[in-house]
Symmetry: C4
Subunit: 208 residues, 4 copies
């Protein structure tokens, strides 16, 4: 990359890192208990804090998902040769969807224990279907910039990444449909997807 291209890429990364950092921090805002009905004795406060466990669980799950999205974004950008219009807009769509994670997380935490949990679960997993589409668009935009020599290490790595992103679509779609039937199974599928991705990102991070 030329110096100007490096600067372009650096600004796009800085902007994206800013969005990821803010989204990940906003997730914690939901944890704050309503202070209007603050407990005055220790036992009541302990009970109030304990009863909010779905909020804590939703926080940990969503934080992990955004962290893995950031790590993945980080890995993807190693394949960028230049910032073109296609990359800018695919990344913009990804950022828009990412800023929605705190919203779907709040929704999930508030409804998880109610009959309305099915709707919240569909919205929560449905957002990851859309995020997966955005990642696939971004990855396609990056891949189009250059084609590695057939049979090279890079070509193998790119095929592996393509598969890595494509597999997410059916898994999240299934998780979205399963949320209608069982929220825990649906969430377990998404978490399983992230664990599998985390375990499989190493070759991308070692690439240069």
């Amino acid at each position: 990359m030329s110096d100007a291209e490096k600067k372009d890429s650096a600004r796009l990364e800085a902007f994206s890192d800013g969005v990821f950092a803010i989204v990940i921090t906003l997730l914690a805002l939901d944890l704050k208990p309503e202070l209007t009905d603050a407990a005055h004795d220790a036992r009541t406060l302990l009970w109030q804090l304990a009863s909010r466990w779905p909020t804590y669980l939703a926080f940990v799950v969503s934080f992990s998902s955004v962290l893995i999205m950031w790590v993945d974004h980080h890995g993807l950008f190693k394949f960028m040769r230049r910032v073109d219009t296609r990359v800018l807009f695919a990344n913009g769509l990804l950022m828009m969807l990412t800023t929605l994670v705190p919203f779907t997380t709040t929704l999930l935490a508030a409804h998880a224990m109610e009959p309305s949990g099915t709707v919240a679960g569909v919205v929560y997993s449905g957002l990851f279907v859309l995020i997966n589409v955005a990642y696939n668009l971004l990855w396609n935009a990056l891949r189009r910039q250059a084609y590695p020599e057939a049979g090279s290490h890079r070509a193998a790595l790119e095929r592996r990444l393509t598969w890595h992103y494509r597999i997410g679509f059916p898994v999240y779609l299934a998780a979205t449909l399963i949320a209608l039937w069982s929220l825990p199974v649906s969430l377990a599928m998404s978490v399983g997807m992230w664990v599998w991705w985390s375990a499989n990102m190493r070759p991308v991070h070692d690439a240069d």
Copy 2:
């Protein structure tokens, strides 16, 4: 640019990218439904979520506008030779107006379906008139730093950009006045402006 000038420019960009990233993330804060009247059954929640469609539409429209503003800012700064006082203050004015977008968006979403929608629409489009003025001031400040040779590729590009920013003023002004009569037509004009800009930014991004 010297090393010190590059660092100057990098800090101004980092600060601006920070503001853009925060503004774009804050837009999503409005989507959170009031949890005090949380629905307990699936059908009611679905209905509650569906009935908030003006908020979602306003989010998508405002997100797109801030994203295009960021992309444009990114393009503009390629023409910067040094950070002078004029650039600092034109950019500061632009940042101030940009931080107002979440406010006008909330206003628009809350009033879009009411008779008060005309006022909200005028405020919403009126802010873009002011933002356009700030972009023109910033672009003038950047252009003043050096004059390209007449007839050069750069001179042609600069004329094109000048026109690109100037056209926004009458369009947004018209959109502001039209909001008094029809909010959908007014918003369509702004969205049309952004689509046209997005389609016309390519030569700027390819410039070096």
Copy 3:
């Protein structure tokens, strides 16, 4: 500066720029009207928006102050030779005080038109006294890192900056005391200080 020192300085700047960018964006959060009592007809909304003018004025005044603080911070760091513990903590104190500006701004806007405006005005201007102390501490920490040759251009510039920061203390202190008697006069003094500083920052920004 060595490469490691440049990186150190870059991280301190990135962290500070982040804080400034967030503070400046949070200022706008206060502008959002309470949606619970949203007006339904155009005239009422217009009136509601117009009646909140102290909030808009406070926003513009505080935004300008934080912007000038950022520009000044930007100028100061040109004199940094290395990030030492003294610089880290002086900058930390400055950041802590800076994050308080949205709080004092909300307080000022809410009370400006009430008899309680005197207290809000004292708190608002009093924070700038403390911020000025932090700037003087930071500037002293930076100056201690090296002493320019007597009679050099740099020595003259440093003396000028020292005076530039020291003058703020008595002006803000006077503004704080005057707030007890007249809020508009007190605010006018702070705004006057910023205009004067803005007009006098040019030699610092041109320095290298």
Copy 4:
């Protein structure tokens, strides 16, 4: 470090700096008084502001803790040779725990003067136990990347840092248990820990 490794490390730092900057700024959001019960006369406002002293104290204590965490993070990353998966996830855990500081701070400020203060104090100090564990994990991940020659200055520095992080665990654990008995003693222990760390960070910052 190669250029690609430097860029990797720069993105991880930028992301972490973003999180620290946002967390530190969000701490101040709690200071905003409820405007619904805004006082109209000066004496009442003064009294309202004064009565919120536990909130101010909690703000200063938490701000200092996050600032020292940032400074420490800054020091730690000087020892990084490359961004590997282990570093990414240890840092991710640290970021997750850091975003919880505003939550525990709000809790502490709201309950400090009530019998429920013991629970709030245990949660507040307990988070620092977890944060200390995350720092130890991150430091171990960084240390594993290379082993300095035995007897070298670097080996001595690393041993010192290892001790520096390990000592935090028993101190915070003791502070957590002591919160059940006396909140002021518990907080004083944490503050003492930070003062001691601040005084002992100098050799790390001078290292290269």
